[in-house]
Each structure stands twice: as structure tokens, then as C-alpha cells.
């Protein structure tokens, strides 16, 4: 009559696959559909009974978006801006993250206050004055201007995550090195850096993806069509062409999504541990 404990558990696990498939279908099917649309010709897109597998798969859409009028240039623009911004943000945040994690000072409170405030203020408040400042130094409508905006915009998060990673390292290592007479730069570069490398990589990748995906600031700062980022160019494409040109738009969207998606599969586990170690150990 009574089932053994392990049989019951196995049956329970099997039952979990029903809600799990519903979740996965809800979360993943839009991307699947985007992929499928990107391989379709217009006569298969604007139909009332769309098929998930294209009947006549075509590479025409990809040929178009990878051509001279496509997304290659905006992608390169975005790549340039996001790499520069992420590296700069990391270089600025690393010493500060160390101070925040290891040194007691009244400045820490001010910095944490700034992190909280900057995270909770709507960007509409900052964008107008920021735009005026950039215009005054002739950096509006330029990649350098957008890089500065992204650095400051990503700093709170980068700083918080990095400080979590620093805090996760045992302080005894530094104390032991200091006892042995190592100077502060030696401790920083010989002892901390190698241990922090995975954390630094995680943070860098996260800042990169965020800048790659950003839309609002890029929309406001850049006006020149040759300078726009990939998100702005896709949004504009939609605006001009409407749904009639969905095939190339879908192909462009796939191209724009893939880098972020690949990065995130590497990131997810480490990112959460960095987030939580920053918060829990306070």
C-alpha cells in the first residue's frame, strides 16, 4: 500500500516538470519565435497562422542586416563605447571598493548613501542637467560623452559588487603580508589582484552587458546617425519601417541579443554571490 519514501520523492520530482515546462515556455518562447522569424521571408511572417519552423528558411534577412546599411556599424559603436566605459568604471571603482570593504571612515557612509540615492532617482532628473554639462564641454553627440555617462551610471553597481568580492577575501592574507613587510601596492597587486580576478571579470562582463543593452541615455545623447548604438538603431528601424520589415528587424535583434545572452550564462551564479556577500556580511 504505502509507497517507499524514495519512490514518492521521484514521482514528486517528475510532477515538477509540468509547471517547469510552463515557466520555461513563458520565459523562453519569445526568443524562439524571434529566431524563427529571422529565417522567414515576408510572405511567411504576415500571416494569421504563423509556423514556428519556417517552411522556406532563408538567410536573406541576415545578409541584409550584416550588409552596409545594417547593424554592423551600430554594433561596433556600441562595442567601443561599452568596453571603454566598463574598463574605466572598473579602474575607478576598484580602489574605492577596497576602501569601502576594508577601511573604517566617515566617507563610507556618504558613498553608500550616494549608491542608494543614485539607484533610486529617476533618470529624467539627471539627464537634462547632464546633457547641458556635456554640451558645455562639447561632448554631447559624441562617443566620449556617452562613455562618461555610462561610467557614472554603472559606477554604483560596479562599486557595490566589487566591494562584495573584496569583502569575501580573508583579511588575514593582507595582515600576514603586511607583517612580512609588504608595501600596500605590493599587497594590492601581488596578493589581492590574483584572488579578485574572477570577481573583476564578472563585474566587467556585467558592466559591458548593461552598456550594450542601454537605451535611454544613448537616445538622448547621440544625434548623428553614424554614431548611434545598436539599441537606438533597432528602435529607429522599427519606427521607420513598421512591421512590414520584420524579417531583417528580427535578424538584427538576434545579432544584438546573442552577446548579452552568452555573457549572462557565464555571469548568473557569480553575480548573485557577489551581490549577496556585499549585503549579508555587513
Amino acid at each position: 500500500m504505502t509507497l517507499s519514501r524514495s519512490t514518492r520523492r521521484r514521482a514528486g520530482t517528475a510532477l515538477l516538470f509540468i509547471p517547469l515546462s510552463a515557466y520555461v515556455a513563458f520565459l523562453a518562447f519569445p526568443l524562439l519565435w524571434l529566431l524563427s522569424t529571422s529565417f522567414k521571408l515576408p510572405n511567411e511572417i504576415m500571416v494569421s497562422r504563423p509556423a514556428i519552423v519556417p517552411k522556406q528558411p532563408t538567410l536573406e534577412n541576415y545578409r541584409e542586416v550584416l550588409g552596409p546599411e545594417g547593424v554592423v556599424r551600430p554594433s561596433l559603436n556600441t562595442f567601443k563605447v561599452s568596453v571603454a566605459a566598463a574598463l574605466l568604471a572598473l579602474a575607478i571603482a576598484l580602489p574605492a571598493a577596497y576602501a569601502l570593504a576594508r577601511k573604517q571612515s566617515p566617507l563610507n557612509k556618504a558613498i553608500i548613501g550616494w549608491i542608494l540615492v543614485s539607484q533610486s532617482f529617476p533618470s529624467i532628473l539627471i539627464i537634462v542637467p547632464l546633457f547641458l554639462i556635456l554640451a558645455r564641454v562639447a561632448l554631447s553627440n559624441s562617443h566620449v560623452g556617452l562613455i562618461f555617462v555610462y561610467v557614472v551610471w554603472s559606477l554604483p553597481f560596479v562599486l557595490w559588487i566589487l566591494h562584495g568580492f573584496v569583502k569575501g577575501l580573508p583579511v588575514e592574507l593582507e595582515e600576514a603580508a603586511a607583517m612580512d613587510g609588504a608595501s600596500f601596492p605590493q599587497i594590492l597587486f601581488r596578493i589581492l589582484m590574483p584572488l579578485l580576478l574572477p570577481g573583476l571579470a564578472t563585474t566587467l562582463l556585467y558592466a559591458l552587458v548593461n552598456a550594450w543593452n542601454e537605451f535611454f541615455f544613448a537616445l538622448v545623447v547621440l544625434k548623428d546617425p553614424d554614431l548611434v548604438t545598436i539599441q537606438v538603431s533597432l528602435a529607429r528601424f522599427r519606427g521607420i519601417e513598421g512591421l512590414a520589415r520584420w524579417g531583417p528587424l528580427a535578424a538584427g535583434s538576434v545579432v544584438a541579443t546573442l552577446p548579452a545572452l552568452i555573457a549572462f550564462t557565464f555571469l548568473q551564479r557569480r553575480l548573485v554571490s557577489g551581490l549577496l556577500s556585499g549585503g549579508v556580511k555587513n
Binding site: T13, P19, L20, Y23, V24, L27, A28, P30, L31, W33, L34, M46, S48, P50, I92, A93, P95, A96, Y98, A99, K103, S105, P106, L107, N108, I111, S118, S120, F121, P122, S123, I124, L125, I126, V128, P129, L130, L132, I133, F148, V151, V152, L155, V209, N213, F215, F216, Q231, L234, A235, R238, L243, S253, A256, T257, A260, A263, F264, Q268, L276
Partner: protein, 305 residues
């Protein structure tokens, strides 16, 4: 003799403290300059603009004290956008956390191919907001959309609905996309919380004859409360300030029914050039968020006592 020793110790301690302050100032210096110039100063200027009549153009801003706020009280669009903002923020936050809790508990069970599921559920998180908007516009399309096709072939719907232009469906349709977007992060955070609960606790509960629901209610939920409160405060802030997704989906339409506060402020500022009024709207958003976060922190304090 004794007093001089303690005095010199005090001096040494003060010296150590100021040395510590100096070294920490040096470490903060590269951060402080860009933060002051590009974050703190523009923020203060933005707050100040909310008390002026600044318009896009040449005339310099003129201080007009509370005029913008008086105008807001009489502005029906303002009330509508904040009401929409609250409905959006609360339903999206609650939906993310409730659905995320379910998904996190499924993923916390020892399923085969856990790594694969975890990557698949992350998809919406990694996608750029512009593309999320584009995809869902297509899903909701009245003629070629997947949703109408699915519902009609299941026999649940006779005539196609233009979801994003329909007066009663537009806001719910947008909210579903909001939940879809935020579900991955909520799930991952809740999952990492679940994994810190020692398995012995659950086993002890089931040996004592607690049902699944009792275990969840009396063991899991209380242990997760701090994480849930932290997560919902963050989600509240993000959702209340959200912009890109709805901008691409509906641009606030139909007839302003999905015009979230941030969209309203953006349109006032950049479409109509009322930068002072837009900044004033931003200030009110800050007040709302501040009030909510304070309330959340107080509840958290009350919950931990």
C-alpha cells in the same frame, strides 16, 4: 604618569584615525571627481529645475517655487499617470515575486539538467529592453500575432484582439511583459536564498509530520522574509522608474492608459519642452520612492525584532 600614557594613547589613536581617513580619501579620489561632476551636481541641478519654469530654448530658468506642483494637482494626466504607475508597480512586483518563488522552489528540487533550465529561464533578463518591446509587439500583433493565433486555435477567442491598442487590455498586456522581464532576477535571488536554508530543517519538519504547505508557511517563508523585503523594495524602485520597455511597446498609449510616470515626464520634457515641469515630476517620483523605501525599512526592522 598614568594620565600621560592614556593621553599619548589617545593622541596615537587620533593620529591613526586621521591616517586612516587620509588613505581612504586617496582611494576614493578617482571615484569622487566623476561622481561629483557627473552625478551629484546634475542631480542637485535637476532637483532645482523642478522649482523653475525652465523650457527647452533660450530663456534661462526662472525660480517659481511651487507653481509646478500646483499645476500638477490640477493636471488630470498627472493623476492618471501616477495611478497607472502604482497599478503597474504593485502588480508587476507582486507577480514577479509570487511566480519567482514558485519557480525558485522547483529549481531548488534536485531536477535533472538543472544547468540547462537555469540558463533558459534567464533569457528575458539578458535581452535588451528595446528588443523585448519589439518581440512582444509582435506577439500581441492583431493580425500576425502568436497570442491571437494561439487563443483562437484553442477556441478561447473568436475575433482577434488588438491587445496593445485595446482600452481594457493594454495595461494588463504591458504588465505581463513587465513580469516576464523581472521574473528571472527575482527567481535567481530567491533561489540563492532558498539554498542557504539547511536541508535538515526541512527534513525535521517532514519527520514531525508537517505538510508541504505548513513547511513553506512556517519554515521557508520566515527565513526568506529579509530577502523578499529587500527584493521587493528594489523591484518597486526599478518598476516605478521603468521606461524603455513601455516606450517601445506602446509609447504610453492608447489614450495615455499605459503612460507610466517616467514616460509622462519624458514626453513633457522632450516632446513638449517643459523641462521644469518634467523635473518637478521627477521630484514627486523621488518622494514616492523615498516614502515607500522608508516604510519598507521600518517593516523590515519590525519583522526582525
Amino acid at each position: 604618569m598614568k594620565t600621560t600614557t592614556s593621553g599619548s594613547i589617545q593622541v596615537a589613536a587620533a593620529q591613526a584615525r586621521s591616517r586612516q581617513l587620509m588613505s581612504s580619501l586617496m582611494l576614493y579620489l578617482p571615484l569622487l571627481i566623476p561622481v561629483l561632476v557627473l552625478s551629484v551636481i546634475p542631480l542637485v541641478q535637476g532637483i532645482w529645475l523642478g522649482f523653475t519654469d525652465y523650457k527647452l530654448g533660450t530663456t534661462p530658468p526662472r525660480f517659481n517655487f511651487l507653481d509646478n506642483y500646483a499645476r500638477m494637482l490640477a493636471d488630470r494626466d498627472f493623476w492618471m499617470s501616477f495611478r497607472t504607475g502604482f497599478v503597474w508597480t504593485f502588480t508587476v512586483t507582486a507577480g514577479e515575486i509570487a511566480l519567482g518563488m514558485g519557480l525558485a522552489m522547483i529549481l531548488n528540487a534536485r531536477l535533472p539538467m538543472r544547468g540547462l533550465w537555469r540558463i533558459l529561464i534567464l533569457i528575458p533578463w539578458a535581452m535588451p529592453p528595446v528588443i523585448k518591446g519589439l518581440i512582444w509587439r509582435f506577439v500581441y500583433h492583431p493580425d500576425a500575432g502568436l497570442l491571437n493565433y494561439g487563443l483562437m486555435s484553442l477556441g478561447l477567442l473568436r475575433d482577434p484582439i488588438n491587445w496593445l491598442s485595446d482600452f481594457s487590455w493594454a495595461l494588463p498586456a504591458v504588465i505581463v511583459v513587465g513580469i516576464w522581464t523581472g521574473l528571472p532576477l527575482a527567481t535567481i535571488v530567491l533561489l540563492s536564498g532558498l539554498q542557504t536554508i539547511p536541508e535538515e530543517l526541512a527534513e525535521a519538519g517532514s519527520l514531525d509530520g508537517a505538510s508541504g504547505w505548513q513547511q513553506f508557511r512556517n519554515v521557508t517563508l520566515p527565513l526568506l522574509t529579509p530577502i523578499i523585503i529587500a527584493l521587493s523594495s528594489l523591484e518597486f524602485i526599478w518598476n516605478f522608474n521603468s521606461f524603455g520597455l513601455v516606450y517601445v511597446l506602446t509609447e504610453g498609449g492608447p489614450a495615455g492608459l499605459t503612460r507610466l510616470p517616467m514616460l509622462f515626464a519624458y514626453l513633457e520634457g522632450f516632446a513638449f519642452g517643459n523641462l521644469g515641469y518634467a523635473a518637478a515630476l521627477g521630484n514627486v517620483m523621488v518622494l514616492v520612492i523615498g516614502g515607500f523605501v522608508l516604510y519598507g525599512v521600518r517593516r523590515q526592522a519590525a519583522a526582525t525584532i
